[in-house]
Structures are given as structure tokens and as C-alpha cells.
């Protein structure tokens, strides 16, 4: 790697910055809503510190407000988490070089956004733990800090829907998806999976459409092996896609 570039962990912090800001805001919204669900401030904080999953935490806090049972909440958490199986699988080639202890630790930091940002990085650079830690710890700290802010200052949190800030995650995913859309086959797969995911949101529990769409994309890639060379090449000389 070129030595004039910032250290990998610093680059990770920089690349994550827009989403770090979004995590603070959405963490604060979680802190506020979980308080309204009847959780004490320390309980909301404990959930963010231990579980660290926006989808599962929002679902759990609304289920707690509705006095749902213990196992119903756990089952919902498992369904929402099913998408992580495929994200892990898709990242596994890049995690080969890490020790089991490193993988065990880094797994805790895997979120949708961390997945998108780190995957984009590893298209161009060899995978390294310091970059993943730079991204992952930024987002984790932002989520927990946001939760804390939400519990102490919930009434001052702006409504993200009114400001259009709910679009922040979509904007980041669209920008990062750009690098995946390198051929007609891949664009068609993207659109097909997107249409399938939209259809599935009406019939499947939240979280599962991501899993099924990922499996569908995998099947297309698996059965069309001649379509193009693999996407896993890591050529460090491709400079034009640097994200900062």
C-alpha cells in the first residue's frame, strides 16, 4: 500500500463518517423510543451495548411496549438477524487471513452499513483488521453515544422523517452499490433481486427479504459462472475509486 495514504484505521473512520453521524441520530431515536416503551435509561444503554443491532432493538422495544413474550422477541431477533448469515458468507474470503480470535471479535461489529463500507474497501485493498476496527468501532461508539443522548435529551431529537434524513442509509447503500453494477448481468441481477425484495416485504417477516434476495443473487452468480471473472480481485493500483 502507498505509504502516503492515511493509516488504514484512520481511513476507516473517515469512510464511515457520514454513517457515524446517522448512527448517532438513529441511536438517539432508539434511546427516545425505548424510553417511551418503558425501559429505564440504563436498560436502553445495555441493549445498545450488548445487542448492537438497530433492526432488532427497534423491534424489541416496540414489542416490549406491547408486552410481548420473551421468546417472541427472541424469535423476531433471530429472523431479523438471518441476513447476517449471508453477509458473513460474502465477507468470508476477506476474513481468511485473520486469526480465529480476530474473527470472533470483529463479528460483533458486523452491521449492514459496516458490511457495505468494508466490502467496498476490500475490492481495492487487502483486507485488514485495523480498517474494519476503524469503521466498526466508529459506528458502535456512535450507536451507543446516540442511545445515551436519546435517553437524556429525547425531546430535542429532530424527526428524521420530516428532515428526510431517513434517506441517509439508502443514499450510502446506493453510492456503494455503484461498484457492484459493473456489467449488464450484474445490473439485471440487482434489479431482479430488488423487485423480489419489494414483493417479499409484503409476505415475509422483516429481515428475511435480505436473506432471500442474497440467496437469489448467489444462485444467479453460481449458475452463470462464465458471465465474467470473479469480483474478488484486489488490485491496489486502481486509484480512481478512492472514496475520500
Amino acid at each position: 500500500m502507498n505509504t502516503s495514504e492515511p493509516a488504514a484505521w484512520k481511513q476507516g473512520v473517515l469512510d464511515a463518517l457520514p454513517i457515524t453521524a446517522s448512527y448517532v441520530l438513529f441511536g438517539a431515536i432508539f434511546g427516545m423510543l425505548s424510553g417511551q416503551s418503558g425501559l429505564a435509561a440504563w436498560e436502553s444503554m445495555a441493549m445498545s451495548l450488548f445487542v448492537y443491532s438497530g433492526a432488532a432493538q427497534f423491534a424489541a422495544s416496540s414489542m416490549i411496549a406491547e408486552h410481548a413474550g420473551f421468546w417472541a422477541i427472541i424469535l423476531t431477533t433471530c429472523l431479523l438477524n438471518a441476513r447476517h448469515f449471508l453477509m458473513g458468507l460474502s465477507l468470508s474470503p476477506y476474513y481468511q487471513r485473520f486469526s480465529p480470535a480476530q474473527v470472533n471479535a470483529l463479528a460483533f461489529l458486523l452491521t449492514d452499513e459496516q458490511y457495505a463500507i468494508t466490502l467496498n474497501r476490500f475490492r481495492r485493498y487487502p483486507s485488514d483488521t485495523s480498517y474494519i476496527l476503524g469503521v466498526g468501532l466508529s459506528l458502535y461508539i456512535a450507536w451507543c453515544l446516540g442511545t445515551w443522548l436519546g435517553t437524556v435529551a429525547g425531546q430535542w431529537i429532530p424527526d428524521p422523517a420530516a428532515l428526510g434524513l431517513g434517506f441517509s442509509f439508502t443514499a450510502m447503500f446506493v453510492a456503494l452499490a455503484y461498484y457492484q453494477l459493473l456489467s449488464v448481468v450484474r445490473i439485471l441481477t440487482f434489479v431482479l433481486c430488488g423487485a423480489a425484495a419489494v414483493g417479499m416485504t409484503f409476505v415475509l417477516p422483516n429481515g428475511l427479504p435480505v436473506l432471500v434476495a442474497g440467496l437469489l443473487a448467489f444462485a444467479i452468480g453460481y449458475f452463470l459462472p462464465a458471465a465474467e471473472p470473479t469480483e474478488t480481485a484486489q488490485s491496489p493500483n486502481v486509484k480512481e475509486v478512492e472514496s475520500t
Binding site: L163, G164, F173, A175, A177, T230
Partner: protein, 106 residues
Amino acid sequence: MSTHPLLLFLVMAVATYLSRRAFLRLPSRHFSARLKNGLSFIPLGIFASLIFPSLFVAEGQLAVQPLFLIASALCLAVMAVSRNVFISFGVSLGLVVLVSLGVIPL
């Protein structure tokens, strides 16, 4: 909920962690070219399913959200020109915020 919340959070945490860790490190020595090609397509499905429902589903109904569609198209266009994630993110989110605040009429 009668169970202690901490117990709930710990079981949630374990379930979440295991799903993240499960396939994160599979022995890839025996991955065939086909399998690798399949793996390289997974992000397409994941990105598509994280993006499309926010553009075409509103309040549980099928709906076209023109502002989000235009902003997404703008985001891709800026990416094509600038190859810069920050600028593309900022321009497209900025458009949505300005329209939401009524600064730009749509």
C-alpha cells in the same frame, strides 16, 4: 414482560452475535470458481434488498417515491462522474433534505 430485561438483552445479544459470526470465516481453500462467482453476486442481492423497499414501499403499500428515486438516480450519476462516495452521498441526501424542508419545490 415478566423476565428480567437484562436476561432478554443477553439472549438477544447471543442470537445476534452468532448470526454474525456463523459464516464469517469458512475455509475457502476448496472454493471453486463457480462458488466464488456466486459469492461475488451476494452483495448485489443484499444491496438491492436494502435499497429497493425504501424506494417502492411506503407504509406497507407498494408506492413509487419520486423524490427518493430521483435522489438515487442522482447519486448513481454523481458516482459515475466523481467516483466519490462522500460527494454522491452528500449531494443525494442534500437534495432529499432540501426538498423535505421545502427549500426546493418538487
